[in-house]
Symmetry: C2
Subunit: 243 residues, 2 copies
DNA sequence: ACAAAAGTGTTAGATTTACACCCATGA
DNA sequence: TCATGGGTGTAAATCTAACACTTTTGT
């Protein structure tokens, strides 16, 4: 799945000193790559090898090339790190604090993307690359905690109004998995009956007439996302206060 | 209100040739400055004097200086053009298409801001500066129509969930003005009784026990925004389809 | 008295919320 | 037969949507 790439993979956040003298302002992209393991929301991070941020975790990012579109740069980072293409991605915010990068003025455009965590094969050479539970992350390199928090907030806003969560799930999933996903992202608990009723009534999911295998209890029915579903102008779920 | 500014006011979009040789990628900000005249949503634009965009209208923007925060650059543009400070402003999206600027690679961070249109005193030297009805704009210079459309969409999303519209109104306003504002931004009509009931029940506005002057009909009561109102997790208005 | 816009209440329908028991499977 | 999680329905409360007449002011 890894496309051939004539440029060596460098992380803007670990190999940046060379740009200092060439650009007054450098532009980078940083990708918040979300995955879901069935229970908690995870994010793909790399260990910073900048001395200053020794042992801190960093988002995946890179300099935007002068002849490269912004979105293309973000997709390139994603492809180089995960081998994935055609995944859901959204630009979120641009961070440009003067002191955000020790190597000089770097303005970074932050994206988040939603991938199926099981489709990502981490390569041996990427031994610094790991999935982290979002809610366990306290500190990160650079301003990456701020970027992550901003992207989590955006994902929360988005998933309440728009059915993007399916990108984090396997093609076939149970209602329990779907509910776990919403609860993990939004940090709330839903009533099981109401949650199911809501999704089924929206016509967003389609019963596959299949059931789970290899579970030690009554197997759940499997569904898939119905791409043809018309989006009514309604919220998917309602979140009340106790987030 | 105009702060002293040691730099001459230049519009990134009209005086950019000098940067071409210095930066591989230049970063700019563009401001979508919204105002409301009581009936329609307006945006403050300047006439492009770039030959290529002769007679096209352009957003207000400028290069971000190497030692300047992004938000500071946007506030600077706003201050230089309107004399206003401390206005509502939100970063929306960053546009970086390769060919978006004829002078070279310029990535621009778009902001929108909400100002009281009557507080903006256009200076004589700004004869190219005008308020335009948003819905009448068909073409603009550069990719500015795309940027405007993106900011309008963001404003629509925001005003449905968050009481930002007050920034476009005078301190004292009638419920009719408030409703006109929502209708102008969202492009829908609301039932007057339901709209009033909704806002009054939210506790967002405070009755001033004053009425309009100089109207040739029954004067409306005046209200002000209640800053202390607790935001319930509810939509302010509901928009159904016919937008 | 007329014109123009302000102000006001009720009801039906839809949506949300709260809540508890039986079912299917593997061990 | 037990443990585990899957699957289901109903009723109360809240919210939304539809709808028309009276009041106040200036002319």
């Amino acid at each position: 799945m890894q496309a051939h790439n004539p440029f060596p993979i460098k992380n803007i956040n670990t190999h940046l000193t060379e740009i200092k003298d060439y650009f007054k302002i450098a532009v980078s992209v940083d990708c918040v790559i979300f995955g879901f393991d069935g229970n908690v929301l995870k994010v793909l991070l790399i260990k910073s090898d900048l001395a200053q941020y020794k042992n801190k975790w960093s988002l995946l990012g890179d300099i935007v090339r002068p002849d490269e579109e912004l979105d293309a740069a973000a997709y390139r980072v994603l492809r180089e790190r995960t081998g994935l293409e055609n995944v859901y991605m959204e630009q979120v915010h641009t961070f440009g604090a003067l002191n955000r990068h020790p190597a000089g003025r770097v303005i970074t455009v932050a994206y988040y993307s939603l991938v199926n965590i099981h489709h990502v094969q981490l390569k041996v050479s990427d031994f610094g690359l790991h999935w982290h539970a979002v809610k366990d992350l306290k500190q990160m390199a650079f301003d990456h905690k701020l970027i992550l928090d901003t992207c989590v907030k955006r994902l929360q806003d988005r998933i309440i109004e728009h059915p993007v969560g399916f990108n984090l799930l396997p093609k076939k999933f149970s209602l329990r998995e779907l509910q776990n996903l919403y609860e993990a992202i939004l940090g709330v608990k839903f009533d099981r009956r109401n949650f199911r009723k809501k999704f089924l009534s929206l016509g967003l999911i389609e019963d596959l007439n299949e059931v789970e295998n290899d579970v030690k209890h009554r197997p759940a029915k499997l569904y898939r996302f119905n791409e043809k579903a018309l989006l009514k102008n309604t919220r998917f779920v309602h979140v009340n206060g106790n987030g």
